[in-house]
């Protein structure tokens, strides 16, 4: 009888050891490579012109569904999760802004579950499940790093766009109630999207300027239909998210080329409810400013709206 007990105990020990040693632990190599590849793009991102914007300044937290793997340089540390839900964001932890993203595996799982990237990608990432991979995750990482940069160096300036003007806690509610529910505003915005896209596509400089002028005229008309609160929120989203999308899209371009960049980022013609549309419009404005005023990012502190920069051309 004793021998059976020993054998039974040994079997349990063997199974435990087998299960333990065959498991995957820690941050996967794919995520580490994503981080390293993202860092390797720093020089190209520097050429975009945002001063002091260095990815290696910010810790990146990859959430694997249970814990955060905090990466900076060659260090990877396992820490308690800041958010026990999938989010892509920047968050102040121990006095510094850090980037938070799900692991690429979890992001892919989320696509399978929802068919989209769900709440995480509220206007942020516009890829289908089949398209999403390392290049897209690197772009998303830079997007959130852009927010960490904004909040580290220009928090007061960027928040000045909405401070004292917005009365609700969730600013997206303003867009839903004041913009998306107003048919006239929506119609005008759709027209503006088309015009700004044409401005981006044309290579004729005078034509480009004419489109921008037309866009700005419609913008004045549209804004008359909105209250100060809604205008402030639009300006804020374009400055904060538009520039972050601009960085994300160019990081994608560095990896996948001009054609893929234009296919994935500059073809936005459908009106999106919520804040998503400002990501695209803001990005497009950044691209136009690059063409017409290449030095626009010199000393840019996010306190000036992208529309104001277009008006100043």
């Amino acid at each position: 009888m004793k021998i059976y007990r020993i054998l039974y105990g040994a079997l349990g020990a063997a199974l435990l050891a087998g299960a333990f040693f065959t498991g995957d632990y820690g941050l996967s190599d794919e995520n580490i490579k994503i981080y390293e590849d993202a860092l390797a793009l720093q020089e190209q991102v520097d050429e975009l012109g945002f001063e002091q914007f260095n990815l290696n300044e910010y810790k990146v937290r990859f959430y694997d569904g249970n814990v955060d793997y905090v990466v900076k340089g060659n260090d990877v540390n396992k820490e308690e999760a800041v958010f026990t839900t999938f989010v892509g964001t920047t968050y102040k932890i121990d006095g510094e802004y850090q980037v938070i993203l799900p692991t690429v595996e979890n992001f892919a799982e989320m696509y399978k579950l929802l068919g989209t990237a769900g709440s995480l990608a509220e206007g942020e990432v516009n890829f289908t499940e089949d398209e999403y991979g390392s290049a897209e995750h690197i772009a998303a990482l830079w997007h959130e790093a852009a927010h960490a940069y904004q909040m580290t160096y220009y928090q007061d300036e960027i928040l000045s766009l909405i401070e004292g003007k917005v009365s609700v806690e969730n600013i997206e509610d303003v867009i839903v109630s004041a913009v998306d529910s107003n048919e006239d505003v929506v119609k005008l915005y759709q027209k503006q999207m088309g015009i700004l896209n044409k401005a981006y596509i044309t290579t004729d400089l005078s034509e480009k300027k004419a489109y921008i002028e037309s866009y700005l005229e419609m913008e004045t008309e549209r804004r008359e239909l909105l209250d100060e609160e809604a205008c402030a929120v639009e300006d804020y989203y374009e400055a904060a998210e538009g520039t972050a999308r601009y960085i994300e899209s160019h990081v994608y371009r560095f990896q996948e080329g001009q054609e893929a960049f234009e296919r994935e980022y500059t073809n936005e013609t459908e009106y999106q409810k919520g804040s998503g549309k400002y990501y695209s419009m803001g990005m497009l404005k950044c691209c136009l400013l690059d063409e017409l005023n290449p030095g626009w990012k010199d000393n840019y502190d996010f306190s000036v709206t992208l529309t104001e920069l277009l008006e100043a051309l």
């Binding site: 435990l16 087998g18 065959t22 498991g23 569904g65 026990t84 579950l113 068919g115 769900g118």
Partner: protein, 251 residues
């Protein structure tokens, strides 16, 4: 061995086994024919491998339900009908008695799954994919593992808990086990208390879908995750400890 054989004969005689098997065969026949189509994420499932994977899930779910239905009444019935006294007077220990009854549960559940697997084999032949048949044997063995987990868990719990509680836990085990991957992602989307609750449920209950997925992988020729299989075996081992630990007061 006699206890097990007697229990096994009784399980096979039960009507519910045949009813569930017939229903499952009908479902498989429907999915496997042109009479019905299924879609995943809005797209019709076409092609042998995709369809086979779906049918394999159906087999696994049906097998798990069968395992619960067959295993749930076995031990309580033995005690309720006082058959246990006949065993005690022969000097047979509770551990041996419960183990043999549990073995009968597992074997009868495995038999039902084998019948369902034959339907899968038939489907493969009719689809001109007879080449997959040899790999169905190891696939079946892996599928047994998931079925055995359910049957063993139900059997062990039925030693010490009332039937309704065992049925409830068994149902949660099957739902959580089949939807393991889905729930794992879902918990991270909803977060909060619900997310934490789901996290604990997933920690407690084994990934039955993961195990059946490995079985399908073996048959189709995709890579097999040994870790999932070893975790399944470890789960079986841990639950089996309950046969040593739990006793009926009556004895």
């Amino acid at each position: 061995m006699t206890i097990m054989m007697n229990a096994l004969k009784e399980r096979i005689r039960r009507k519910e086994l045949y009813i569930v098997v017939v229903v499952a065969v009908i479902i498989l026949a429907l999915f496997g024919s042109d009479a019905a189509t299924i879609s995943v994420e809005g797209e019709a499932v076409i092609g042998f491998q995709s369809m086979f994977r779906v049918l394999h899930v159906v087999v696994n779910v049906t097998g798990c339900l069968l395992a619960m239905i067959l295993s749930l009444p076995t031990i309580p019935t033995e005690y309720r009908e006082k058959r246990s006294h006949l065993v005690w007077i022969r000097g047979i220990s509770q551990v041996k008695y419960h183990t043999q009854l549990t073995a009968a549960n597992i074997v009868s559940s495995a038999l039902a799954v084998t019948i369902l697997y034959l339907t899968l084999a038939f489907y493969a032949i009719t689809q001109g994919a007879a080449g997959y048949l040899p790999a169905m044997l190891p696939g079946l063995l892996i599928t047994y593992m998931g079925i055995a987990i359910v049957s063993l868990l139900i059997s062990v719990l039925s030693i010490c808990l009332p039937s309704f509680a065992v049925g409830l836990i068994g149902s949660i085990c099957i739902v959580a086990g089949i939807g393991h991957g889905l729930l794992d992602s879902y918990k991270n989307i909803i977060g909060g208390f619900s997310g934490t609750l789901i996290k604990w449920i997933l920690w407690i209950f084994p990934d039955l879908n993961g195990i059946q997925g490995q079985a399908a992988n073996v048959i189709i020729g995709d890579g097999v995750d040994v870790h999932v299989l070893l975790k399944g075996l470890l789960t079986l081992y841990i639950i089996s400890l309950g046969l040593l630990l739990f006793r009926k007061k009556e004895a």
